[in-house]
Symmetry: C2
């Protein structure tokens, strides 16, 4: 990415809203799509290079096999991920994020940034 583009992005990101109606709709759409406790952590895990069921499971504290299984199925149906089975022995199942899936990257990064800042905030407040 070029410097110019990055500046433009930063400016757009930081600009003030223009059309509240449209923007609240966009916001609610996004909340609907990434809603729930597990979508974004799963996408994050996949984008971090985890491909196999148990690896993804282990990378997300607190998730159960049931929830992971359910979410992966739904995300495959929604074209967010691709499931590939290699029928060697032993069988290998791999989940890979699609381009569409990668489009959540900025949201996830902002949320990680916020979470880190928040924990710093709590540390300081503990003094």
């Amino acid at each position: 990415m070029e410097e110019q583009q990055m500046l433009a992005l930063a400016q757009e990101v930081l600009s003030t809203p223009r059309n509240p109606r449209q923007e609240v709709q966009a916001l609610q759409d996004t909340i609907y799509v990434v809603g729930g406790k597990w979508r974004l952590p799963i996408i994050n895990s996949l984008c971090n290079g985890n491909k196999r069921f148990r690896d993804i499971e282990r990378s997300i504290p607190g998730i159960t096999t049931r929830m992971l299984s359910r979410e992966l199925k739904e995300m495959e149906a929604n074209q967010l991920i691709k499931r590939t089975v290699t029928p060697d022995t032993p069988v290998l199942v791999e989940y890979t994020p699609t381009d569409y899936c990668h489009s959540f990257g900025s949201i996830i990064l902002e949320m990680i940034r916020w979470g880190k800042a928040h924990s710093e905030h709590l540390k300081k407040a503990a003094d």
Copy 2:
């Protein structure tokens, strides 16, 4: 904000993760705090300048008085907003976002960006 700072921000936003353990924790913390259907739309509405109960309500499609009331109360308890009562006649109640509340700005903007891009995506797919 200076150009230098903005560039640094853009670079940080777009950088690849380093510490997956810490980052997944930060992500889950954030999801916990902004979880639910209404938090972010309410914060967005407040940041757009809405102060009064009915104004906020009207600015968020689908929300009920009950949910708005509940969320506002909890957000006040969590120092996200300030509630000010002016006991003139008629009584005036105003909700204003705290600095802490403003810290969600980047997340909201990214989600609005995603939502807009998503609707463009759907329009194109309709062809």
